[in-house]
């Protein structure tokens, strides 16, 4: 009979190997799924994982990797703070939307000002603040009333989506748009665009995501706050005795992740997306949850995981156009990846032993 034995220390080997094994398992599952859909499995896998990086048109796809990866990394970094401490913000999608709306509001209010030194920084502040404020709602409710932050932050995603629809169809609709829904195109405004170099996929969201990786790394490696976050997650009672203020920690984790999601939303809406439209959000806030876990809640891991997940988005698009692979198949693929990771992760904390039945 197989039994699990708790390891005194999590296995260092498996904490690195588990994500790799999970990715391999997911590829096997993906091949089976694609075959079941009547698509050539190996060709589909190579379209997803090989074509964007080394294929004939990789010069076109590589910049896309930055564009898709940046919001995932930025949001996942924020989420990882809370996840480490047992604070579950799963409404990043909503904070992303509100950040975009607030930033866009500043850009559209200042239009047609050409003072980039004023407009873009003001948008950044507004976007970060929007996401922060939206995340503070579950934060303050949790601290004041003990309300479950998982459910509140998630409910606020649906509220944010309705707000987005209202903005795209009403207050922010382009007055010169001939009645079509959607705002003015901010990516074409010199003062408001987040693009640094569109042909290279560089925008301010990429820069900020990379800076955030460095800051998060320092926070966990060197700063007392990073230590307190880890402590609160692993030993809540010990944290309380050592003087960690749980309310402050909850507000810090939720607020930071909200602000990061807000900035991701803002840099997306003023660059790659360009306009505030009904279908602006594509689920980065939810995919980032997978990125955070796949990256083992570690800043460098998240950077790599964000790149991998961005690859599946781009490769999925390629497989969709060349093989007719349904877009939803990629979503299933991504969901399975998290399952596989969680299953393999048992080896990090437990040792598998063969024992004789009844010997215990």
């Amino acid at each position: 009979m197989i039994a699990l034995e708790k390891r005194p220390q999590p296995s260092a080997f498996w904490s690195y190997a588990a994500p790799l094994v999970a990715v391999i398992l997911t590829m096997i599952f993906g091949a089976a799924l694609f075959a079941a859909l009547g698509k050539p499995p190996l060709e589909a896998l190579s379209k997803i994982f090989w074509e964007p990086l080394f294929g004939e048109f990789s010069f076109f796809y590589l910049p896309q990797l930055l564009v898709k990866g940046a919001p995932l990394v930025a949001i996942a970094l924020g989420l990882s703070l809370g996840f480490k401490a047992g604070i579950w913000n799963i409404g990043a999608e909503g904070q992303y939307i509100i950040g975009a709306i607030c930033g866009a509001a500043v850009a559209l209010a200042m239009y047609p000002s050409e003072a980039r030194w004023l407009v873009f920084p003001a948008m950044l502040i507004a976007g970060a603040f929007g996401g922060f404020a939206w995340a503070m709602i579950p934060g303050i409710l949790r601290v004041k009333f003990g309300t479950n932050e998982i459910l509140v932050s998630l409910m606020l995603v649906y509220v944010a989506e309705q707000l987005l629809a209202s903005m795209a169809l009403g207050a922010m609709k382009n007055p010169e748009g001939m009645g079509f829904p959607g705002s003015r195109n901010m990516s074409q405004m010199d003062a408001a665009t987040s693009w640094i170099s569109q042909s290279n996929g560089m925008h301010w969201g990429v820069v900020i995501a990379l800076i955030a990786v460095i800051f998060a790394y320092i926070l966990f490696a060197r700063h007392i706050l990073g230590f307190q976050i880890k402590l609160a997650g692993q030993a809540p009672r010990a944290a309380a005795f050592s003087g960690v203020n749980p309310a402050r920690l909850i507000l810090f984790c939720l607020g930071t992740s909200g602000a990061l999601a807000g900035i991701a939303g803002l840099t997306e809406v003023s660059g790659p997306a360009g306009i505030v439209s009904i279908d602006f959000n594509v689920g980065y806030g939810f995919t980032a949850i997978i990125v955070a876990f796949l990256g083992r809640l570690h800043p460098v891991g998240i950077l790599l995981a964000g790149g991998l997940m961005a690859l599946t988005y781009i490769g999925g698009d390629i497989a969709q156009s060349s093989l007719g692979l349904p877009g939803a198949a990629i979503q299933v693929f991504q969901g399975f990846l998290l399952f596989a990771l969680l299953a393999v992760d048992v080896l990090t904390n437990y040792r598998v032993r063969l024992v004789q039945r009844g010997a215990a």
């Binding site: 034995e5 409910m155 299933v332 998290l338 969680l342 299953a343 048992v346 437990y350």
Partner: protein, 303 residues
């Protein structure tokens, strides 16, 4: 401006609007009473909605649709159960994975069925009771699934409070170490509860696609699974109060839909927000305790 809303019709449609959430919530209530937090309700619900719909279209029989949805929901829940009970994975993360996976699976399976109409599922007109003025049309003239939902709630109440197996389930949820020490099978009890929860979520989803809408669309559940989770908290894990919570929520939904139809001066988007905001308010007011003691904790019988 409220003249075009018929209060009788409003109350009658309230029971129909509340049923999908009631079904999903009563299943999750049992799961949580067994000490397991399954955040995958939304994923199991939407998978149930598409599986049930496809089966109902294929056979032309709505009942087979419901059966397939329940089995599909239970099957997905089993994946969650195996991961959390045998692989000892984090319940919050696994539940989220189930939801993300389910949303993808549903939109993959549902592709060919967008805009197709579900087979008819006629209302019951219960003799004698259905003929009572006012009360008849409000309570006794609905489709059979409304009463199936009520029956499940009653059955769960009876099971939890009046049977030995229900007592064991509650013991496992309150303190799994103690239940284990007394010789009860913690993992087996939890697996069964998890599968029951999945079956109920599947039924709730199928009710949306077969009866309530009645067609399949991407993102059909629109957070209904999450609202079901909130209603379990609102109910303090008690079946009777769950009924109240689900009808309260059904009322808000129906009212805002009616206000939209009546063309009230409030923009549609703000009316559509109201069920979610109402849920948040309810959570704030009802955040008092009452949660099972071992809720969300991983059980491992260490030797």
């Amino acid at each position: 401006m409220f003249g075009s809303i018929d209060p009788l019709l409003l109350l009658a449609s309230l029971m129909v609007a509340a049923t999908p959430i009631l079904l999903a919530a009563i299943g999750e209530l049992v799961v949580e009473r067994a000490g397991v937090l399954n955040l995958g309700v939304e994923g199991m619900m939407i998978s149930g909605s598409v599986l049930g719909f496809v089966a109902a279209i294929a056979t032309g029989n709505a009942w087979i649709g419901f059966l397939v949805a329940a089995l599909g929901g239970a099957g997905m829940a089993l994946v969650f159960g195996i991961l959390t009970q045998f692989f000892l994975s984090n319940q919050v993360a696994t539940g989220l994975a189930l939801t993300l996976f389910g949303l993808g699976l549903a939109s993959l399976l549902g592709q060919g069925y967008l805009g197709v109409k579900a087979p008819s599922f006629p209302d019951w007109h219960i003799p004698i009771l259905g003929d009572i003025p006012v009360i008849g049309p409000i309570i006794f003239q609905h489709d059979p699934m409304v009463y199936v939902g009520l029956g499940i709630v009653g059955g769960v109440w009876w099971f939890l409070n009046k049977t030995r197996a229900g007592l064991v389930l509650r013991a496992v949820g309150e303190n799994h170490e103690a239940a284990h020490a007394l010789g009860y099978h913690v993992v087996r009890t939890r697996l069964l509860a998890i599968m029951f929860g999945g079956a109920c979520a599947g039924l709730g989803g199928a009710y949306l696609s077969i009866v309530r809408v009645p067609t399949y669309a991407d993102g059909l559940t629109a957070g209904a699974g999450w609202i079901a989770l909130a209603i379990v908290v609102f109910a303090s894990w008690k079946p009777g109060r769950l009924l109240l919570g689900a009808y309260l929520f059904g009322g808000v939904t129906v009212l805002q839909l009616n206000l939209q139809a009546a063309g009230v001066a409030i923009p549609v988007e703000y009316l559509s927000m109201s069920p979610y905001i109402a849920t948040i308010l309810v959570l704030v007011i009802m955040s008092a305790g009452g949660a099972p003691g071992s809720l969300g904790k991983t059980f491992h019988a260490s030797r």
